[in-house]
Symmetry: C2
């Protein structure tokens, strides 16, 4: 495991947004690939205890996606559409199907730091502070950190 730092997770004080920042030992092209290639994405997203099965994946502006996370036969599904997919930015919607009326608008930026390093910044916007804060208290940082640790390993061993 080559985790240099945990993910910085911040709740915006003025708008119902969660922001995350983490640096990776990979180029923006590699980070983009890890987020758009369904085979790569399925290998790192989410907590280590879950397996991810991609059900639908069309990573282009106007496309859509759906995946199912499984653990001991228990299934949790997530879906959304890709508003924009471009090398430096992905904008997509996100719904956990267990809470079908909840929708987040997510933006990911891949910032080139030079020397083969990239800063990943993400922003998740929802329509209420209650919804945002419930998500923050759900333990989501475990899945975020375990997922990004897997991604770091995949960058280190040449999988991405």
């Amino acid at each position: 495991m080559s985790t240099i730092a945990e993910t910085k997770i911040e709740a915006d004080p003025n708008v119902p947004i969660i922001r995350m920042t983490r640096e990776f030992a990979g180029t923006p092209e590699q980070l983009f690939r890890a987020h758009t290639d369904p085979k790569l994405f399925a290998q790192w997203i989410g907590p280590s205890s879950l397996e991810t099965r991609i059900e639908e994946w069309d990573a282009r502006s106007g496309g859509s996606w759906r995946f199912v996370s499984t653990r001991d036969g228990e299934e949790h599904a997530f879906r959304g559409c890709f508003h924009e997919v471009r090398p430096d930015r992905i904008v997509q919607t996100f719904t956990y199907e267990g809470d079908p009326d909840g929708v987040a608008l997510e933006t990911l930026w891949f910032e080139d730091l030079g020397n083969g390093r990239t800063r990943l910044r993400t922003q998740s916007l929802v329509d209420s502070f209650e919804g945002r804060d419930a998500w923050l208290k759900s333990g989501m940082e475990i899945g975020v950190n375990e997922g990004y640790a897997k991604l770091e390993e995949m960058l280190a061993d040449g999988t991405v």
Copy 2:
């Protein structure tokens, strides 16, 4: 013209959302059709002084859309993806291509009031109050009200 009331347009005091409400003399099914059938949508959306040309339209969950508004050869394009399309609710993203980094998450609800009447409620969520307030000050209510007046006429004359 059968405008009974103007659209109620409200800026949320706590989150960067614009909410709109308007009642129509039409069923939820008619309102849904007016928002999902591209030929009908092109006839009413936007200010009276503009023509709308649909370039892309796949009104289902995971589909996408793009249209161009023209006036005297001047063109303005808009695009997004449909996160969810269901009889009582549409969730979609919205970008004006003249401001390509700006993205709104829009939700529309069709509420059955009985007696062939429907309350349309909409919500546009963006990631800053500055962006939201700039849009409110842009004169957007003219296009909104002129568009909905056209939709009322189309409901009254049987076009929808």
